[in-house]
Amino acid sequence: MRVFEEILLLCLIICAVSVAFTKDLLTSIVIFMSYSLIMCVIWVLLQSPDLAITEAAVGAGVTSILFFVMLKKIRAIRKEDGHEQDEK
């Protein structure tokens, strides 16, 4: 169990570092989502199921959805402006 936990902690660090160095925003958001899920498993290992269920629903679920929606919104704004430019 201890080895498993160590591997997960290592994964956390890898995720956190790779978020910083990813160029694509969508990729970094997906990496952040996986970071939250790993955190969730670690909390199960640390005997805190309350946290795990909340993190899974709030951290990995709703926060990621909000990130995606925001990215989509920004793309929509960009495309809108692009169209306006074309018309001119």
Binding site: F32, S48, D50, L51, T54, I77
Partner: protein, 124 residues
């Protein structure tokens, strides 16, 4: 150096993550990455707390079979605090994301340095 660095490896990882998140928040000029850095920082603190609440060989604090002995369960307080913290951090990130959308609509970039340059050009 103190004696407990390798025993407290979980806490050490939490501190590393805190530093990484802190660095992201300071160094990234892209707003979305700043927000992710912020979230990493927050979760690192929560990881630290949860690690501190854990006691080897005990189970989650949900009373089972009527056993109400302190020796049986882990410390419930850190879990409660983290539960509060998670909700705080989701509200903060929602607010930051909304601010980002507004800024993007106005300045068409996510780069904070770029935005301040544009502001300077406006000369307001």
């Amino acid at each position: 150096m103190g004696p407990n660095l390798f025993i407290n490896y979980g806490e050490a990882v939490a501190m590393l993550l805190f530093g990484i998140g802190f660095g992201n928040l300071l160094l990234q000029s892209n707003l979305i990455k700043k927000i992710i850095g912020l979230n990493i920082m927050d979760t690192a603190v929560y990881l630290f707390l949860a690690e501190k609440g854990y006691i080897a060989g005990r189970v989650a604090p949900i009373v089972a079979d009527g056993v109400q002995d302190m020796e049986a369960y882990i410390n419930p307080i850190p879990s409660g605090l983290v539960l509060t913290g998670i909700v705080v951090s989701v509200s903060v990130s929602a607010l930051m994301l909304a601010l980002t959308i507004r800024l993007y609509r106005r300045y068409h970039t996510l780069d904070l340095d770029e935005i301040s340059r544009q502001l300077k050009k406006e000369g307001l």
